[in-house]
């Protein structure tokens, strides 16, 4: 078996009395999409944020390509090869689409302390940014202010910035949220293309998308992983169905397809 790209070992996090994450261990293997599902408040976002470094874990370890990154800052983890997209679209609103991606290319290159040459005249920066825009079909929007993009386009821009980091692993927190059904089909295509660049740890509520995309699923309930396995294994798992019963976001597809 190959080594995991990303390995989370015995991660724990409490917020006062609330246990957000309890002894979570999971792995992201090369070339796979590993989906993280679970009811609202299960701690999926907290887990992603701990891996990305926005939230510091109480205990446990996070390894990226075998290297312990659990004490690094967010920016150091990004440079080490983690690219994240946020649950709520997070771009630089008053930058053009091109400038947003240039920023990511610049972050990847590690040279942000250059003071005198105009950024827009640096071909290595601009051309690479344009090539990523072309990959996501955003070329025509390059001059548009990010704040003026539609919701779906902003989601794409975020993915484009993640791609520009040429990461070892993607952490995507609900990339389909709010893009509509046509948008989510397009996003599904996009994510399966993204997977060829680096494996994806995916938090997603859209179960159709999850079942189409995921190679592996882990189910998080009250901060614990109660089941982990292939799509079929999870569908058959009684504990998972139990956990979803009566839950607000009961995914119809879990039942329909079983």
């Amino acid at each position: 078996m190959p080594d995991p790209v990303l390995a989370v070992r015995h991660l724990c996090k409490r917020f006062d009395a609330v246990i957000a994450c309890e002894d979570v261990t999971l792995e992201l293997m090369p070339g796979e999409i590993h989906a993280l599902i679970g009811p609202n408040g299960a701690g999926k976002s907290t887990l992603i944020r701990q891996i990305a470094g926005n939230v510091r874990q109480d205990q446990g370890q996070i390894l990226l390509a075998g290297r312990d990154i659990s004490r690094l800052s967010v920016d150091a983890r990004a440079r080490a090869g983690l690219a994240q997209s946020f649950q709520i679209s997070t771009v630089i609103p008053n930058f053009s689409v091109l400038q947003n991606v240039m920023l990511a290319v610049q972050g990847k290159s590690g040279h942000s302390f250059r003071f005198f040459r105009k950024a827009i005249k640096q071909r290595e920066l601009v051309e690479r940014a344009r090539s990523y825009l072309a990959q996501l079909g955003l070329t025509e929007r390059e001059k548009t202010n990010a704040a003026a993009l539609s919701h779906g386009e902003r989601r794409k821009l975020e993915l484009c910035m993640a791609l520009a980091l040429e990461p070892q692993a993607f952490l995507l927190d609900e990339p389909m949220a709010g893009v509509g059904s046509a948008g989510s089909t397009a996003m599904t295509t996009l994510l399966s293309a993204l997977k060829t660049q680096a494996p994806i740890l995916l938090v997603e509520h859209d179960m159709d998308a999850v079942f189409t995309l995921a190679d592996r699923l882990s189910v998080l309930v009250y901060g614990r992983i109660i089941a982990s396995g292939s799509v079929n294994e999870i569908r058959r798992n009684a504990a998972v169905r139990e956990a979803y019963m009566g839950s607000d976001d009961l995914p119809a597809s879990v039942q329909r397809r079983s």
Partner: protein, 327 residues
């Protein structure tokens, strides 16, 4: 093609040169002094604009840099004029009346000071950042009042302006030329920084530090660097200001000074290259015209500021050359 903003910038800068030249012809030395004051105060504003405008770091403590730059000039010059070394042990350090030496000293001292203040202040944001920068400046203000060695409350006089090779600095137009050259240098530096990779990261960090960190750039380092450069520019302006007045007193360290520098930036246009210059010019023009009519001219300045903040966020520059969008 010259954009409208470039054209306005060129006109504003040209006016700043024309006024003292005209004053020279008409033999109105007072106008030359005013233009020099505008240049120096504008330079202080250019420094602050880098932090406040482009970096979103609302510092209400830039008087610390302006004042310390001013005191570096006063202290070096007074020691040199009195033939007293600043210290003898462990090293012999003499005062100086050479402007280039003084500028380098002011820049270094203000750079280190900005590094210390910035490193602590940048751990906070928003209103706490405003308060902590204010607190640092006020500490220095009270220190300057209570430290009798350099005049305490009475301030420190410098009998002769410091010297610059090849120029007679006591001649108004020569000193204007020096101040104006510094302003141009600060404007050039500010323009280059804003458009560089560093500027991209700085402006991004103002809008969304979380995103900046997520692409692998540490917002703290970028903002701290900007804060230091900002402090150095404002500090050198302070050094020039002491030479202009041949006097420095604790008032340059008071929070009024921080407030005035901030007013230049807001009045002229936040995050606009020549905004601080326009702001400082408007400020001085108001002071001179309204100041003659009423002691309370600042009341009218306040009214103008309210109008700008409520109805014309872009300041005077936003009115002269509306922004075309990005960043």
């Amino acid at each position: 093609m010259m954009s409208r903003e470039h054209l306005v910038n060129a006109i504003v800068i040209a006016l700043l040169v024309l006024v003292p030249l005209l004053a020279l012809v008409l033999d109105e030395p007072y106008l030359i002094t005013l233009a020099t004051r505008v240049s120096i105060l504008a330079m202080a504003g250019v420094g602050l604009n880098l932090a406040l405008g482009y970096g979103g770091l609302v510092s209400l403590g830039h008087a610390a840099f302006f004042g310390v730059g001013g005191y570096v000039t006063g202290i070096l010059a007074s020691h040199a004029l009195n033939y007293e070394p600043i210290m003898q042990t462990p090293w012999m350090i003499q005062g100086s009346t050479e402007m280039p030496v003084i500028w380098i000293c002011a820049a270094l001292v203000c750079g280190v000071l900005a590094l210390l203040i910035g490193a602590l202040s940048l751990r906070t944001t928003g209103v706490y950042f405003i308060m902590i920068t204010l607190a640092f400046a006020q500490m220095l203000y009270y220190f300057s009042i209570s430290w009798p060695t350099y005049g305490g409350e009475d301030g420190l006089s410098v009998y002769l302006r410091n010297t610059f090779p090849g120029l007679n600095t006591m001649n108004g137009i020569h000193f204007f030329a020096i101040s104006f050259a510094w302003l141009l240098a600060a404007l050039w530096l500010s323009s280059a920084l804003v458009q560089s990779r560093f500027g991209l990261a700085l402006q991004a960090a103002r809008q969304n530090p979380v995103r900046v960190a997520a692409v692998g750039i540490a917002p703290y380092k970028v903002q701290l660097t900007a804060f230091v450069i900002s402090g150095v520019i404002t500090g050198v302006a302070g050094a020039l200001y002491t030479d202009l007045n041949r006097f420095v007193s604790p008032s340059v360290l008071s929070w009024h000074t921080s407030g005035e520098i901030m007013v230049f930036v807001i009045l002229g246009g936040v995050a606009r290259l020549v905004g601080p210059l326009v702001g400082a010019a408007v400020f001085i023009i108001l002071e001179q015209s309204l100041g003659g009519i009423s002691e309370n001219w600042q009341f009218w300045l306040g009214a103008l500021l309210i109008v700008v903040v409520l109805h014309a966020r872009g300041g005077v520059m936003g009115f002269l050359a509306p922004e075309n969008g990005h960043a």
